[in-house]
């Protein structure tokens, strides 16, 4: 790791101010991606600004129509939140599948979304559920937030403060883990909104990050059942291809994981 300066602000405003003063500052949430990248000397922020201890950024609020997860809430707290498990079990399940237990104790939803790793789990839920990303400046719709690999709509210095999920009628998440890293080789989140709309998002598969899967959405809108996908074919073009998953394999996984997510959703 290169030299850096550590800061621990106690409020979002203080964090933003520190960011402005740093030459090449970075926010540090759970650090489960940033610290490894810094260790590998692939990132060299002049300053790291720790958001994890800012009280206003931690917590889960479960309401009747929405679930709000504040940005610095660790995955474990999401996965183990009893009210959330009841209101939006698919999201709690997704959180329980991220990384490993130690990673879930530190990693946060805000950090995951701001990083937008193409194989991260959370972006699929955010996109499929049509969540809203709240920042210190504004609200961003999920459809406008993800801008390709490791790219988001966030401006320099902008901090995610919370993510608001509408509670769906049905939702499910199925992940096929990368055998080595345990990131999503492909993960699919399916959601049926209370108004009957169907949104499906796949992570780990596309060369341009998390994506909606229109063919599956259409099929499920017509018939919400795993069997509805029998004749759906996902094209391999535009999908990632590597040692552990060729593009045609990932295309297959999108369909198979979608079927299993629908089964899980009930």
């Amino acid at each position: 790791m290169y030299s850096t300066t550590y800061h621990r602000p106690s409020s979002v405003d203080e964090a933003v101010a520190l960011f402005g003063k740093g030459k090449e500052a970075k926010y540090l949430a759970g650090g489960q991606t940033l610290i490894p990248v810094m260790k590998q000397r692939l990132a060299s922020p002049s300053d790291v600004i720790d958001l994890a201890r800012i009280k206003e950024l931690v917590g889960v609020d479960v309401g009747g129509d929405t679930v709000t997860i504040k940005a610095a809430t660790p995955h474990y707290d999401v996965a183990s939140n009893a009210a959330l498990q009841k209101a939006l079990p698919a999201l709690a399940h997704l959180a329980s599948q991220i990384g490993d237990p130690a990673v879930r104790h530190r990693g946060t939803i805000g950090g995951s979304l701001a990083n937008n790793d193409p194989a991260a789990d959370y972006p699929s839920a955010v996109l499929a559920l049509g969540a809203t990303i709240k920042t210190n400046k504004r609200s961003i719709a999920a459809d406008d937030f993800f801008k390709g690999l490791f790219a988001t709509a966030l401006e320099d210095g902008e901090i995610i403060t919370a993510v608001v999920f509408p509670v769906p009628a049905k939702a499910g998440y199925a992940k096929f883990p990368h055998p080595a890293s345990r990131f999503a080789l492909t993960g699919v989140f399916v959601a049926k909104t209370k108004s009957g709309d169907v949104r499906v998002a796949a992570t780990g598969a596309s060369q341009s990050g998390v994506m909606r899967v229109a063919a599956i959405e259409t099929a499920l809108k017509a018939n919400w059942s795993p069997g509805a996908l029998a004749n759906v074919t996902i094209p391999a073009s535009g999908l990632m291809s590597d040692l552990h998953g060729s593009a045609d394999y990932r295309a297959n996984l999108i369909k198979v994981m979608a079927e299993r997510a629908v089964t899980a959703a009930g």
């Binding site: 300066t5 550590y6 650090g31 610290i35 490894p36 490993d100 530190r106």
Partner: protein
Amino acid sequence: MSTVKLTVNGRAVSADVEDRTLLVHLLRDHLNLTGTHVGCDTSQCGACTVHVDGRAVKSCTMLAAQAAGSSVTTIEGIAKGDELHPMQAAFRDNHGLQCGFCTPGMIMSAIDIVHRYGGKLDEATVRHELEGNICRCTGYHNIVKAVLDAASRMKVAQAAE
């Protein structure tokens, strides 16, 4: 350089370290607590697992400064004097270790698993929960046995308290 103050194994400690110092290096190099190991550089192997404020974390994936003000427990801090922690005893009794290098992290993760699940542990759950800890010697067979054994010992110990 910053002065990092925290509690380690129940003792208040303070160390002057570069801000880029990882928690694991604070423990190993500055506090001479060399039971916590470094087995990889990608946060995968779990040999460095310690408890921070009661939760298992990878001390190689956390700056020492992030732990300032926290309470850290390492493998050196779980026995009560000569009395082994039930998880330590279970690892020994079930031959849950060979070369011993992954063992401290494995034990710290395993204690955390039992804390989270209480007595509701089965083999499949233990195997899944151990996914952040890599062992090259044991094939995990006896580690899984040890964790299940310790879970019942810890339940008995808890009931007795």
